[in-house]
């Protein structure tokens, strides 16, 4: 079977993950276990959820820098309403999700109708959401509501004595839905078309405005959901949560094989991109002697490699066109 060229980046990503897991297993005792893999999911659930939203944005040819700030704002609103105002999580969580979606769709509408670059609009959104956190409180607000502690501590048992957290399960569900949406719905295909060529999409009669706004709405929603999962994980709301997180998310998507120019990439790739970031962290913590800064260095190097790989593939692509 000859490998279709369009699958090369995603295959490279998956292979890289497997190689890293294999290397870790040979080097460190206790690394080769199912639970290590499950922990990758548990520790990176919120990154995975955010990266799913970001994948749609990047596939459509845009970028969303506001995700980290929206996560912080979500934790802040949740903590404040639940702890200080005594609201029920059953109201607070849907409210936070709506806030994220609304924030995203407002940015999407500005990007589309005023024809402004997504970079600058979402940068403004990033500052605004971060600033709003401090309007609520400049201090960290600890959450001890029983619902949140239950969500944090509940372990879903898996065969063989392994377990998953509720957050990880939510993240997995999000990934599965996202893969379906991207490949089996008109919205998903329109996102790819939009990223491929916006002008053509318009002329082919696709709903460009609706798709673009929905993409940022989806990203805002995913960020807010990640914020909710983040509160399960951290049990606090704080304006300094998830600082610089948008860049980790973009890195995960790019390592997952999605082209920053839009139109090319897979949600499954994003899943493995997140897992690779997680496994780098795990390896460094197993190593013991290395500072956690080495994670950043490794991710930086990987990003370079992946951007170069994409460059080479797209150069091949334009060469192909001449034939």
């Amino acid at each position: 079977m000859s490998l279709n060229r369009k699958y090369i980046p995603i295959v490279v990503t998956i292979m890289l993950f497997l190689v890293m897991f294999a290397v870790g297993s040979f080097r460190y005792t206790g690394f080769f276990s199912f639970q290590v893999l499950m922990n990758l999911l548990i520790d990176n659930a919120f990154l995975l959820i955010t990266a799913v939203g970001m994948s749609f944005v990047i596939l459509s040819g845009g970028i969303d820098l506001s995700v980290g700030s929206i996560i912080a704002l979500s934790t802040m609103i949740s903590a404040s309403l639940v702890q200080q105002h005594g609201w029920s999580p059953a109201i607070v969580i849907p409210l936070v999700l709506m806030m994220g979606a609304g924030f995203g769709s407002a940015m999407g509408a500005i990007i589309h109708y005023f024809k402004i670059q997504p970079f600058i609009v979402t940068l403004a959104g990033m500052f605004m959401a971060r600033g709003l956190c401090y309007v609520i409180s400049i201090d960290t607000i600890t959450i001890d509501h029983p619902f949140y502690t239950t969500m944090a501590q509940t372990k879903i048992p898996l065969p063989g004595g392994n377990s998953l957290s509720i957050s990880a399960v939510i993240a997995l569900i999000v990934v599965v839905i996202a893969i379906y949406v991207a490949h089996y719905t008109r919205f998903g295909r329109n996102v790819y078309a939009l990223g491929g060529n916006e002008q053509s999409s318009l002329l082919m009669g696709l709903p460009v405005a609706r798709t673009k706004i929905l993409v940022y709405t989806l990203s805002g929603f995913c960020s807010a959901l990640a914020g909710v999962v983040f509160t399960f994980y951290m049990l606090s709301g704080y304006g300094l949560h998830a600082v610089g997180f948008e860049l980790d998310t973009i890195a995960a998507v790019v390592i997952g094989g999605t082209l920053l120019t839009g139109g090319v990439g897979y949600l499954l790739g994003t899943f493995f991109g997140v897992m690779i970031q997680g496994i780098i962290q795990t390896i460094i913590s197993f190593e013991g002697t290395l500072s956690s800064w080495w994670t950043k260095i490794a991710i930086g190097l990987l990003l370079f490699v992946f951007i170069l790989l994409q460059r080479m593939l797209s150069a091949k692509r334009s060469a192909q066109k001449q034939v």
């Binding site: 279709n4 089996y184 790819y192 009669g205 696709l206 139109g263 090319v264 192909q320």
Partner: protein, 503 residues
């Protein structure tokens, strides 16, 4: 031959833009199973007519009938609903999606909102193989295929939407010979299927090869509808170019016999060519010689000039200079070989509107000298004054902003800019387009007097009289290749027209 009723009929169409009559009393009839060519030079109104037909522009007067029933064409959607589909020269598809998706996106077969990929791929495969005779893997992304195949896929998308009428807007302009044949086989097949096809082109050979009927427009006016078989090439060209009362003919004959043929060769192109722009050609230019390039729009005139100037890279052939140098890879090389190039796009590739006449004049010289060897203000003023006098630039004020000058005077400033660099070969692409008759004559005189002083010219113009007046030798281009060269002893307008028409 065709007694059936027209499928689509446009009657007495008028379209005005502020200050311009874009279409005057234009009619068009499209018959099922026929290819109808729409021909005309630049500004003839071809694209306006297409935009009217596709609902992009609304019409001021006149009616459009589809199968005898009047239809409204107020928006692209209405036009599409009436069964009119258009495939543009630039393929408007998404290169990252698969072939099948490009045909079906927006109308994918679905069940409960879920896209049925297998069904879609199967339908795409059938559509391409049955209607277009194209056997390709529809699950491959579009970018894997050539522009020609992409164009066929765009046609497939149009067919799948509804089409009774298919408009092909210059579909062959970026295709090579084999690809054109492939496209034509598809058109023949669609013709048999009973589609009415409007084929917009400026290639004469292709028009004759594929079309039954042809409508000619000139300056927004309807010249006539003819059966292609009954219209000789020369008549076609005459009708497209038109015989206008040309004021220039009243000017005294400017060409005196001057013997450039004895001079040494300055530059020789051998087998110079670029795929999709101009087929390989030979052309040499002597010192003090004016070589004219004649041909219809799109025959490769500008493309030839750009190869000489290094603005496009040739993919075959060589350029050799008398002084031993060879090869022009970039405009910078060309300038070093003392070649100057005045583009046909005066506004976008020539003048810098917000700079003064003086600043515009010294631009090329300054660029040639490099950033650090500045020209003193006094020197600049001297140059500006000299050329304003020499070329009779009006108003004679070097500090006037160039955007406020008339087209003719802007052109003179551009000539001054390059003359200041004392070129040995000056390429002029449509130097007199859109300028008044007086300035036209002045520019022609200037070319002649400079050539007598030993400067060589490559002179491009759509006006045959002008090319004849200034050139010692004329190279004729047709459909992107050099057909022949005519020297002054046997040059007449009739002969050039004949050569342009070919066949």
């Amino acid at each position: 031959m065709n007694t059936q009723k027209p499928l689509l009929q446009m009657k007495q169409i008028h379209k005005r833009f502020p200050g311009v009559k874009a279409l005057t009393n234009v009619s068009l009839r499209l018959f099922p199973g026929e290819v109808h060519a729409l021909m005309g030079e630049n500004g003839a109104g071809k694209s306006t007519l297409i935009k009217v037909l596709t609902g992009v522009y609304s019409i001021d007067e006149g009616v459009v009938e589809m199968e005898g029933v009047q239809v409204s064409m107020q928006s692209p959607l209405e036009s599409q609903a009436a069964g009119i589909s258009t495939v543009y020269q630039e393929v408007n598809l998404c290169p990252n999606l698969t072939v099948a998706e490009n045909i079906f996106i927006g109308r994918e077969p679905r069940r409960f909102g879920r896209i049925l990929w297998k069904e879609m791929n199967k339908r795409a495969q059938t559509l391409l193989s049955e209607r277009l005779n194209l056997h390709i893997d529809v699950t491959e992304p579009l970018y894997m295929y050539s522009v020609a195949v992409q164009q066929l896929i765009a046609i497939a998308r149009a067919l799948n939407i509804s089409a009774k009428v298919l408009i092909l807007d210059e579909p062959t302009s970026s295709l090579d010979k084999n690809e054109v044949q492939q496209l034509f086989r598809v058109i023949e097949k669609l013709k048999r299927d009973g589609l009415a096809i409007l084929f917009v082109t400026h290639f004469l050979d292709q028009m004759y090869e594929i079309s039954e009927r042809v409508t000619i427009l000139r300056n927004g006016e309807f010249i006539g509808e003819y059966m292609a078989k009954e219209l000789p090439r020369l008549d076609l060209v005459l009708k497209m170019i038109g015989k206008e009362l040309n004021l220039l003919e009243q000017l005294p004959q400017l060409v005196e016999d001057h013997e450039a043929s004895a001079n040494e060769t300055l530059v020789t192109a051998e087998g110079l060519g670029r795929k999709g722009a101009i087929e390989p050609f030979d052309l040499s230019i002597r010192r003090g010689e004016v070589v004219g390039l004649a041909g219809l729009l799109g025959s490769g005139r500008t493309e030839t000039a750009r190869l000489f100037f290094g603005a496009d890279k040739p993919d075959s052939g060589t350029l050799t200079f008398a002084d031993g140098g060879s090869g022009v890879q970039t405009p910078r090389d060309a300038i070093n070989h003392r070649i100057a190039f005045c583009s046909e796009n005066r506004k976008t590739e020539g003048i810098i509107g917000d700079l003064s006449v003086r600043e515009n004049i010294i631009l090329a010289l300054q660029a040639k000298q490099g950033m650090f060897r500045t020209i003193s203000r006094k020197q600049q003023e001297q140059y500006a004054d000299e050329y304003i006098r020499m070329l009779n630039i009006n108003p004679p004020n070097p500090e006037h902003l160039i955007k406020n000058l008339s087209g003719g005077n802007q052109q003179k400033v551009l000539l001054a800019r390059w003359l200041l660099t004392s070129p040995q070969l000056f390429i002029l692409d449509e130097p007199t387009r859109g300028i008044d008759i007086g300035a036209k004559a002045e520019i022609q005189k200037l070319v002649l007097s400079l050539s007598r002083q030993g400067m060589s010219f490559l002179f491009i113009s759509s006006e045959l009289e002008e090319v004849l007046r200034v050139s010692d030798r004329v190279a004729i281009l047709r459909d992107r290749h050099k057909v022949t060269e005519l020297t002054d002893t046997n040059m007449s307008q009739q002969q050039i027209m004949q050569a342009i028409a070919g066949g």
